[in-house]
Symmetry: C2
Subunit: 500 residues, 2 copies
Amino acid sequence: MKIEEIEELKNRLVELSYLNNTLGLLFWDQEVNLPVKAVDARASSIAYLSGLAHNKFIEIDADGLLTKLHKQLLAGNIKNNEAVIVAETWRSFEREKKLPEKFVKENAEVTSKAQSVWAEARKTNNFDLFLPWLTKIVKLKMQEAEYVGYTDSPYDALLDVYEPGMNAKEASKILNNLRDSLIPFLKKFESKKSKVDIQSIKGKFPIVEQIAFNKLVVESMGFDFEAGRIDSSTHPATYGTHPYDIRLTTRYREDDIYYSLGSTIHETGHGLYEQGLPVEHWGTPLAESVSLGIHESQSRMWENIIGKSMSFWKFLYPKLQKEFPIPFEKLAIDDFYKIINHVKPSLIRTEADEVTYNLHIIVRFEIERDMIEGKIDLADLPKIWKAKMKQYLGIDVPNDSLGVLQDIHWSCGLIGYFPTYSFGNIYAAQFYAAMEREMPDINKQIELGEFQKTNKWLKKNIHSLGKTFRADELVKKVTGESMNSKYFCEYLDKKYIYTT
Amino acid sequence: MKIEEIEELKNRLVELSYLNNTLGLLFWDQEVNLPVKAVDARASSIAYLSGLAHNKFIEIDADGLLTKLHKQLLAGNIKNNEAVIVAETWRSFEREKKLPEKFVKENAEVTSKAQSVWAEARKTNNFDLFLPWLTKIVKLKMQEAEYVGYTDSPYDALLDVYEPGMNAKEASKILNNLRDSLIPFLKKFESKKSKVDIQSIKGKFPIVEQIAFNKLVVESMGFDFEAGRIDSSTHPATYGTHPYDIRLTTRYREDDIYYSLGSTIHETGHGLYEQGLPVEHWGTPLAESVSLGIHESQSRMWENIIGKSMSFWKFLYPKLQKEFPIPFEKLAIDDFYKIINHVKPSLIRTEADEVTYNLHIIVRFEIERDMIEGKIDLADLPKIWKAKMKQYLGIDVPNDSLGVLQDIHWSCGLIGYFPTYSFGNIYAAQFYAAMEREMPDINKQIELGEFQKTNKWLKKNIHSLGKTFRADELVKKVTGESMNSKYFCEYLDKKYIYTT
């Protein structure tokens, strides 16, 4: 193997990344800035650039360079970082080359348009409006699975995009375990539920002041504003186009500052991962995140394990009280803590507490798996949704806007994505437990608002490694165990015994 | 000629526009949003996409489609709109195919980096820092002229990009005439100069309130916020990526609301042109502006002829007084009018009044023309600059930051661009005179803030035509005469006789 060949591959990957990070910017801009009349024009631009990026990726091997390097890899002639680059590029390439350009473009165009139909359907509580578009999308996704290939379930082929190496069977096992722990936990919890006055943290928080407070929090957490920014959008998200250009978005409600803060802390967790990727390897798999599950572990660790801990609020609450004396000056930190950690089955996933959240995910996972396996008549979705919400969370869904239409994901073609949210919770608890074993004073540091050591640990063990290890290898390497929900359940047990 | 061939050409042009409008977004984002550390990464992305757009444009004729259509055009077999599409595409294509991809990329990369060097040089008043980069750029531009070809002067080849059909000789003739009218006008003017207290329009104008007031003004002028937006950037500009997505930028100073308003009205003039292009032809020359000079005629007409008229302020001043009672409540409209129309030779082009502004342009035009013709040792630029400013404007330039380093243009590779600003002033006065002949009550309408008829006239006669006519044809068609500075000088004479 010649050095120049690896260098040539890297150059091609970096060029490809110019296209892909530009696509990232188009998506960000669509959510943050786009004038309403330009929606269709943007959809067309995104579709065109997606097709172009797909073609450029396939062209990487036009002269057989990647195939040649892959053979060298199999022969054991490529090692270390370079082995990661070749292996992971090959992995994506194999999938991508199976998808015809026409399919990629159609997928981009349909999902881009479906998003506005979905928005209208949710607004008007009209599942029938969305049904033909969802039907198209599910058909496209089934087609994608056929193009890509799979062993057991077509769902494997979709899941594998977001959580490489995972499959429907393994995911079902992990999530069934979690479900079977959570349902009794929730029942036990409900029987002795505490009384909290949620209204006592509501008030009038001018958006400009919330924006300023968010910036302070994000900066305290270690996010570098010279390499990123935070804006407002309907759906909070993190757009990582380059470790030096990470864009967080959050949302605001004037009467509820925690509505924004929770999302902001969550997205900052994602943002720290993206800023922690090794910039010198940008464009290659060495500067890409491991999987969505691992990504989500960073956001959920910050949002919940750290961001809803008493230690964190011992640091932040005095600042919150100072900035917003009404209502916080007269509200004890213990009461604030109880409110933000209040557990109660509810309709909306994005506003769910950390216990019931995973049951929301499991509902979606089971439905989308069955959808892709062709076991569901899509017209029955509202009915199926309501039944599962009743069975797992014990609540009645009054309408589809608050039910099956609440999430944007399916309209974007994101099927196989939901379970990674729960993987994130599970990984987060495992990582945090490992970090605590290595740094027993971590809670003390958090209390002081000193996050340097936490960030250093996360960067060293996770962020800076890019795709060097697969999710399952990484978790074993860092925590000594495979992914399992034990630590997450222990975390919940320990935390909620005191608050109830 | 087959219909399908024209349709195929249109499809290829539309696809190309997806790339070009994405590039436009990258530029806009660079000025409005980009985190500081991401400057280099963005420069590389822009360079890569520029190269790609260049290649895609050349590929339009890979199968000889454009060449074939061009032959049909010459044979008289293509008419009307389709003739415009073929002729104008051929024109750009002929130029573009002469430029090697390597050159296009190098040009994009050098100019992108030179901008930050220029910014530093201006900040530290260090011309020597910028000199090697300017040398590179001038060399690239000379190279470009050689690639493209020219008859008399290499400057022709550069000017032609921005003002198709124009050349150095014709531009020199027009601008010499203008210079020879303006210098005595200014002398006469200075001898009887009025006293105004510029400070009386200064005050404390919170940026958020300025932003709100700007929006009101921009909307009153007829700009559609469902098809565009306005943001803040160091250099005010208009980024037109699609008639439904037009992005204006402006700048703010807390003590000077007119600093922002003037720029905002100017950019809105550009924005109305872009929003008025025929969306159904987007991607083709039928939905492109005629030239930079014609574009500038729209912004300067709004900024100066309309936006600095007594009629306009009879409409807007009461609103300004209401929003900012301090200082405007106690300032008579006549005094306000005199201040915003105050004529005084000054150092900075972008802050110059409408009389001296053109002398600033003529200084730059003469220098850049001589630069490209190889008649200047670039190290002498500061000296030459100072001499011309003294000769034409009668002022001493204290340092290079306020002199030769003040403008970003050369660092962007924009050589041949400056004269179009003066063409804009000349065209604007010609168009406005024609509009006044057709609608004698136009000033009355402006006084009432009713801009519908003005916008309708501009849209019908200019905006909606795209590139159907060349600048010289359009001006003759609309005003009955070729470009000449007579109307501009008459406008100045008429306006300033009353204020002095």
